[in-house]
Symmetry: C2
Subunit: 333 residues, 2 copies
């Protein structure tokens, strides 16, 4: 089983020293990844962006990985965007306070306020990536954001809008209603519901935002992914936190899935779908949406051989720690 | 502000050494408490019951506390129940595997199977206390159990059935539909929703079963309690686990509220209701339902004086640890 140019369209690499621990997992196995900008302070200017990109590239020994850099959404003016356009892949919008390091995010979705920057992004063809949650009851936050996605999709028809890490049936349906709406989907939301987080005992390592939802939501997500639906792209949202921030009282949100992504996706797609659809989900759909054209390809070979996920990588506990997986990566070419 | 004969109609005291740490909080401030039987092994026979009662009474220095003992529900025969009747207050039914130490619980609610024991309980006037959750999706477990409560209430009209620690609007409404249905309500479910457990960071000390639900559920519960509704009784479900079992990966369900109950209830009722209704909720309703008549009364005086809840009692982290409360217990008479 081989995969050509796997892409992680939503990735948190953090900064040193966590970056040094986690980046190799993604750099080795993916051709490119969209790098999230919610650092402290957030990535909001060219200097910070270039510094961060340098940090990432220093971890790339094989020089066959493209970090697709993003800016933290603000009311940037058009001139700034023109200047920075070639250095960035997209801009990521966070509602204020909705997840890790998002305090500086958007606190009001008044159209008049957003128009200047979103019109400029439309004209410059800069995609808008959105963490779509309101501040409502935790199980309603994503579906209640649907009306804001609709507002954006209707008013900025030329803007490419990506609904990041979708978790609900509501957004699966919305995706089909607007031509300019796209979505990323994580590995863990294909596998989890709220029952896994707290249905039996409480599992802090499965606590993430958006929180895993109901069985019918998971089914809708699986249907989109396993069918290879063209507007959905893989984005891991792999989001490491040191163990003491996961297991202490007041645990941080985020699942560190990077070390297990391709083997686990192969196992899931083998059970529910077929390899061609995994190739679409992991790469081809995004290549088509963004017209990617990589100078040098990266081919990942997977073989069926059981291995046990380590209990931890340094300070970090990975998704599926200690579990047996059926596939492992044999070769990267 | 005084309270006469406070009753905790749902309490977990565990066994030594946890019992020694937690029991004084309840024994000092309550006239009586219904003691849950989900120990390892569960309380299923007279010897175990008497031993456990002795353990509890050894912690009672003032000899003005009545432990109302319960048996773990099984298909007991009528003769056994006749013999043990005077030693027990009620029998507690757990669906199998639904909460801490409930593996030996009921795995099927076929009426024919339950009839012999429930008919015997009806005749002997032994109340049935029920942990009402199915094995469905965690947010639906209680409301999906409503049909089982209805089945029991209809088929055993003379049986006193108590829906324990209710958390949903559905059961608040059901309570009014059947004369022989009653309910207990915890302190923490008057204060929490799922947002408090995982809406921001994850808080293992607020993880309990049934899990806290939606805002509209909490509102329905508050309305019943604050209005002094006659079929609802206070039951803390105070359920201590040592800190390492709460904060580790795979945290156990249960909130240890015993040290803060009366001060916090006084604060809530002062803000939303009046003292008379607190007296109903904390004692009078249960006295009326069960025709309690205590030989010696216990009067608790509370005064308005701020205090800070300790961060821990031995190995145990209490509900509201480190928070400032407005009332404190001045005197027990």
């Amino acid at each position: 089983m081989t995969l050509k140019n796997p892409l992680d369209m939503h990735l948190h690499l953090r900064e040193n020293p966590i970056l040094k621990c986690v980046a190799p997992h993604s750099i080795r196995n993916f051709r490119a990844a969209v790098i999230m900008p919610n650092l402290v302070p957030p990535v909001c200017d060219l200097t910070r962006l270039k510094d961060y990109k340098t940090q990432i590239l220093q971890a790339d020994e094989d020089e066959n990985f493209t970090p697709l850099m993003t800016l933290f959404f603000k009311d940037y003016d058009e001139k700034f965007l023109q200047n920075i356009k070639d250095e960035i892949f997209a801009i990521k919008l966070y509602p204020a306070g909705i997840t890790t390091n998002s305090q500086a995010g958007v606190s009001s979705f008044e159209l008049e306020k957003l128009k200047p920057v979103l019109n400029a992004m439309s004209e410059l063809e800069i995609p808008l990536l959105v963490h779509g949650e309101t501040n409502d009851f935790v199980m309603d936050r994503e579906q209640n954001f649907a009306k804001i996605y609709e507002l954006l999709a209707k008013n900025f028809p030329k803007l490419k809008i990506v609904m990041e890490h979708i978790t609900t049936k509501t957004l699966c349906e919305l995706l089909k209603d607007y031509e300019n709406l796209y979505a990323t989907l994580t590995l863990h939301h294909l596998m989890l519901t709220l029952d896994d987080v707290l249905g039996a005992k409480l599992n802090p390592h499965l606590f993430c935002k958006p929180i895993a939802k109901r069985y019918e939501d998971k089914e809708a997500l699986c249907e989109l992914a396993f069918s290879g639906y063209s507007k959905i792209m893989f984005g891991s949202d792999s989001a490491p936190h040191p163990r003491e921030q996961k297991e202490c009282c007041g645990c941080a949100a985020g699942i560190f899935s990077a070390p297990v992504i391709l083997p686990l996706l192969a196992e899931l797609f083998e059970a529910h779908s077929n390899l061609e659809n995994l190739q679409k989900f992991i790469s081809d759909n995004a290549c088509q949406i963004y017209h990617f054209n990589f100078k040098k390809d990266k081919i990942i070979s997977l073989e069926k051989q059981e291995w046990q996920v380590p209990s931890h990588y340094g300070e970090l506990v990975p998704f599926m720690a200690g579990e047996l997986l059926k596939f492992q990566i044999k070769n990267v070419d």
